[in-house]
Symmetry: C4
Subunit: 195 residues, 4 copies
């Protein structure tokens, strides 16, 4: 019950973040296909952020699925994650409208980095609320994918700051594509539990 | 439980798509009824897209209702569907503001076509997660309505591209009207199961 | 389960309608209290529509609470209601920005009238899906409040059309205030059933 | 069930309030970091309102969690709370765009004050619906945090009105920070009940 409402609120916020990002793609005034062309950087940024928010939703789903207790700390850590994700429409829009320039790509990378840190904190708080369940911890395991992403976000941000925004953007695209391969860790916990 | 959250997230995204489309109907500055007149193409486009999103919601409802397992692949296929539907406010707005001109109608038809493909993929993934339940497959049956719509979206898009945007638009309107007749396939499965 | 998803989708759409209406109140550029003054008609319109949408949500809640079956027809009738309610942010904004002028008040009254008709249809469809439960029908009873509102919306619209927009607006305000007194019909059915 | 829908609707409205506030941070036209600088008052206001809405969500969660009955009065009191919270995007945007000037800070403080009064009313209505459960009342106890906040909102508003907007803003920031320390009152009731 407790958990259900946390999930519903998170679903609501994530659904709105996904959907208002598309509002940054302003309807062009011309009626020809060529009027659409200038929108490609905004559209590409939208696709990227859609993959990221979709990935966060999927991972959040699996994390909460496997968890059993929701404490006050979990509520806080979850709101913290939603805060950073709520800034994505802004940083996505800025990056797209400036054609992947230096500062916007760096800000976008920083936004992804801070969201990843917030997710890492949430994961830790959920895990520590399950101190007795070594199975849960074991399942999260070394979390190579999560830790690798954090390193890659930092790398992408630094590349942009050092004057290579397109290389930095490339790194951020690569991480998104990696996450499109679904994560089976949590599903395995569920299976072992026989649910 | 699993299924519940997938449904809730999908409901959220579809509810927002429906509602932000109305924001494309900008409040006119004049205070007379004649100030409303120029809005009719935007309003007509809104009605059409409302029917489409409402139809997707109803069909999604029936599909998930009949299904029992949600796998990682189902989550992915569902996000893919939501991505294409999330572009509808954009293509609807562009079509309405350009009075059903050639390129906007073609883009709108393409958007519907790709959404239908995404729904078809989702349906296949849900079905394959039920490999043992021949009842489920049987119920989907030949899916004449779904396959016919896909052909019609392609036709509508082609008509617009070939220089007959109003004929293409007419085809897209006809498909929407056809879907207003409710789909009873899934309800029949439920009934046969005695639920 | 069936019912749950219908409720969730309806809640989502109504929550968004409520909240995007406030976006019509554009943040003024001045920093003095006098910069807020010109906003009063928009604010007043917002309060009125908030009461109406809140009332629809409460009545919908009671109606679905008392119902047991959701058919394809109920889904359709519900989408129809949501369509008319989704136009409220537009008609509210037009009325507020034009200081309760003739055409905008008439359109607002018409919007309320069509929403009420849609709710009446939904109520009938839900009732007919419960053909055996005379208790349900009996509880809805003569529905004086609902029928009276429909008459009042028509009256308000006509008054505006005939050149008395403020009188028409007054009627619409009066109906909203009447609905603030909670409706106990449905709660009584539940009590009688001993739930 | 009853309770579930009230929670879902509230979650939806609060999720949208949170997320549309970020739309007030308009994407700047420049592509340099210095183009972001002028946004800091809007960003700071956003953080503050995010904490407030997050706190209301958390407290609402605990209040409803501990409650057992939802009456018509509870629905009304809840809609009343949502109304005042729905004005926060407006007052937040006005305060941020005017760099914490006198009138905007006073309006923001007033908005917080009226939201707190609405929450206080909701709490009273929920409590009175539990007349027999002295445990519930006892748990709410003296509610020093809630009453103290109400005093502080009044103080902050008055300071702004008297010509000290930054001092008033400081008080409102201090209250937000105080609420970041989680409230354990309701969790204690649940524990005592052995749930």
């Amino acid at each position: 019950m407790h958990k259900g409402r946390l999930e519903a609120f998170t679903d609501g916020v994530m659904a709105i973040i996904l959907t208002i990002m598309v509002l940054e793609m302003k309807v062009p005034h011309g009626e020809t296909l060529s009027a659409l062309l200038p929108l490609w950087p905004v559209f590409l940024s939208y696709i990227l952020s859609f993959i990221y928010v979709g990935t966060y939703w999927t991972n959040h789903h699996h994390l909460l699925q496997a968890s059993e207790r929701v404490t006050g700390g979990v509520l806080m850590a979850n709101l913290n994650l939603l805060f950073w994700l709520s800034l994505l429409p802004f940083s996505t829009g800025w990056m797209g409208e400036n054609h992947f320039a230096q500062a916007p790509v760096a800000l976008y990378g920083l936004n992804l980095m801070l969201s990843a840190v917030a997710y890492y904190i949430l994961q830790s708080v959920v895990t520590s609320a399950h101190r007795d369940h070594s199975l849960f911890r074991e399942a999260l395991g070394r979390d190579l994918k999560g830790k690798g992403s954090l390193v890659a976000y930092t790398l992408g941000t630094l590349l942009a700051l050092l004057g290579y925004p397109l290389a930095g953007f490339g790194v951020l695209v690569a991480v998104a594509l990696m996450w499109l391969v679904p994560d089976r860790r949590m599903e395995q916990v569920m299976d072992r539990r026989g649910r």
